[in-house]
């Protein structure tokens, strides 16, 4: 079921010979080793590999949470490799990146509605009415309208991750990064979540990059990037399994 790589499309993120070395010297750890990677608009990409293969480090560099020690990273056309302040990195994340975490990481004192609203308020590009409309739209897309006023501890794991997806997507970022988004969910819920991400990818054109150990889930991706010891060892493009859930 392999297909050709997309021939066109805007490049959202580009890594050029990007390396991330911890503890330079005798005990150095090469978490990322001269990685070249381009993520294009609308892609649905899985990063796969065993623990310690560099998936999380790569996601952190893609998400401007970390910077490579060598090479170059460009996000939405801006070189973010070095020399940026914490505030500037924060602004880039605010403007261009959405995150989905393994443990959901919702703000426990805010409701489902408010968690999504909060991301838009930080983003600061919409007015109050537009924010209301956008959050309502997201809750409807996620099937969470009935749970809008519940706090995270009143939601199931799957519902929490849906809210997290809504939070990441609401501001329409150039790139959405998901670090093992289904690791804390059961099989059925995991399928639902991946299917939801696929649906958002297709309906909204959102660009997703997610990491996973799960061979079954990675088959939902159009592009699979395999990492071992901080290097990309294999990259495949294929037609994913149908997004039947959600």
């Amino acid at each position: 079921m392999h297909t050709e790589a997309p021939a066109n499309g805007d490049i959202v993120v580009r890594l050029e010979k990007a390396s991330r070395i911890y503890n330079p010297g005798e005990n150095e750890v090469r978490a990322m080793d001269a990685i070249d990677l381009e993520i294009r608009r609308g892609e649905f990409t899985a990063l796969v590999g065993p623990s310690g293969s560099g998936k999380s480090t790569l996601l952190h560099c893609l998400g401007c949470l970390d910077a490579p020690t060598a090479g170059r990273v460009t996000i939405a056309g801006q070189d973010v490799t070095q020399g940026l302040t914490a505030a500037q990195r924060g602004e880039i994340r605010n403007r261009s990146i959405g995150f989905i975490f393994q443990s959901f990481n919702l703000i426990p004192v805010l409701t489902a509605y408010e968690n999504i609203e909060f991301a838009l308020q930080i983003n600061g590009t919409l007015n109050a009415r537009q924010i209301r409309e956008r959050v309502d739209e997201m809750l409807a897309l996620l099937g969470l309208t009935a749970q809008r006023d519940r706090r995270p501890n009143q939601l199931s794991g799957g519902q929490q991750q849906r809210v997290a997806i809504g939070r990441a997507l609401a501001k329409r970022p150039a790139l959405i990064l998901a670090d093992e988004p289904t690791a804390n969910l059961d099989r059925k819920t995991s399928e639902d979540i991946i299917a939801l991400m696929r649906r958002m990818n297709e309906q909204l054109g959102a660009t997703f990059v997610f990491s996973t150990h799960d061979e079954h889930l990675m088959n939902h991706a159009r592009r699979i990037v395999r990492l071992t010891d901080g290097r990309i060892v294999n990259e495949t493009h294929h037609d994913p399994a149908p997004a039947s859930h959600g």
Binding site: G63, L65, A87, G90, E91, R93, N105, L110, Q121, I122
Partner: protein, 409 residues
């Protein structure tokens, strides 16, 4: 400018650990309320003592000859003011409503035939004296017999009742002794001023002048009461003679000594309040620090969402200020209610009511609660919290998002 969404999150975070927040809030509350109560107490002492001095003894200004001042304790009659009527006219012209009285102080002895008490005698025009000092009716007995009024302390010592005949002795202006052995006690003067109540007798001028052999217009002091206390400074500038022979004492100068003593009380209270606010600061810092540590991962999430370090600092600071604001507001309310109660009903010191000695604290003290005191107290509480919250907030904003997100993984 505080972002509304940060404020909402800060308020909810402040309510997360209610017991810890309540402890911090209580320490701020205690500091603020104690500040207001103690400051109102000390201001009350100031206001009460100033009022007692102005209302009963020296008015807003007292004008005396310089050479009289040096020997005032002996109340000499050979160093009078010159041209009393001109002085009185100058004082009266300072502002409409100004009231002026001149008086003669002299050393006197009074007794009941068995006991004798040395005291201060005053010779005054009754109506002018009552116009300047709220000393009550000063009743005039029927008949032609000489009479006097005495402070309540003296009257109680001798158990005089109006109409009782008493003994009076004094040196006249010429230095000869004069005595009256059947002076009527006309009534007691109750002022709250220890010098007046315990050591002063007052003779009307028509009796005192012939008794002391005083000529027309003779006075050792001229006193004035103005519609506004600040006019005392105007009087001082107009009346201080170039030759320095006339001294104008304002009410501020007359009360300087006990106001300085009061500054010591104020400093002592400030130390206590400062210690409580220091405890509050430790509580605020501890609460903010614990909150930041417990929520490291959440702070990492906020940073990943795009919250800049400056906004993280703002969020953490607002959380502390929310707690401090509630503590300061409730503290200001409780402190104000408490101080207001004593401003209306007074704080009684029964042991001082019994005391015969001149004391610097009146037996009934009315607190002086001022808006500025309430605002200062609240500002101190909030300021303390703000300073205490800065470092924990700064520390939280310096977190690495990756490290923070790994917390508790």
């Amino acid at each position: 400018m505080v972002d509304g969404y940060l404020f909402r999150l800060a308020v909810r975070n402040a309510l997360r650990n209610r017991r810890r927040s309540l402890f911090t809030l209580t320490s701020i509350l205690l500091g603020v309320s104690l500040f207001i109560v103690s400051r109102s107490f000390v201001d009350g002492i100031d206001a009460t003592l100033i009022a007692i001095e102005v209302d009963n003894e020296s008015a807003h200004v007292r004008v005396v000859p310089r050479d009289y001042l040096a020997e005032e304790d002996y109340q000499p009659l050979d160093k009078p003011l010159t041209d009393v009527s001109a002085l009185a006219a100058t004082l009266s012209a300072i502002a409409p409503g100004t009231r002026v009285v001149d008086r003669v102080s002299f050393a006197a002895e009074v007794g009941d035939g068995r006991r004798i008490l040395r005291c201060r005698g005053l010779v005054v025009d009754r109506d002018a004296y009552r116009a300047v000092f709220p000393v009550g009716d000063l009743p005039v007995p029927m008949g032609d017999e000489p009479y006097l009024w005495a402070g309540t302390g003296i009257a109680e010592t001798f158990r005089w009742k109006p109409g009782d005949r008493i003994f009076l002795k004094a040196k006249t202006r010429r230095g000869t002794l004069n005595a009256l052995d059947a002076v009527r006690f006309a009534g007691a003067i109750a002022t709250g001023h220890p010098l007046v109540d315990n050591y002063t007798i007052v003779l009307p001028r028509e009796i005192g002048a012939p008794f002391l052999d005083l000529p027309e217009g003779f006075a050792t002091e001229v006193l004035a009461r103005f519609p506004e206390p600040a006019l005392a400074l105007v009087a001082e500038s107009r009346l201080e003679a170039p030759d320095g022979q006339t001294v104008v004492e304002t009410w501020e100068e007359r009360t300087r000594d006990f106001r300085e003593v009061n500054q010591i009380r104020r400093a002592a209270f400030n130390i206590v309040v400062g210690l409580i606010l220091l405890m509050a600061a430790a509580g605020v810092a501890n609460t903010a620090l614990m909150s930041a540590i417990e929520r490291t991962r959440e702070i990492g999430t906020l940073m990943a969402l795009g919250l800049t370090p400056a906004r993280v600092r703002r969020l953490m600071t607002i959380e502390s200020l929310v707690i401090a604001f509630v503590g300061a507001a409730v503290g200001a309310l409780i402190g104000s209610l408490y101080a207001h109660h004593f401003a209306v009903h007074g704080l009684h010191f029964p042991e001082l009511e019994q005391a015969e000695a001149i004391t610097l604290v009146p037996p009934v003290l009315y607190f002086d609660l001022r808006l500025s005191t309430i605002l200062q107290g609240a500002a101190f509480g909030l300021g303390t919290a703000l300073v205490a919250a800065l470092w924990p907030a700064f520390r939280a904003s310096r977190l690495s998002p990756i490290e923070a997100l790994r917390e508790n993984d």
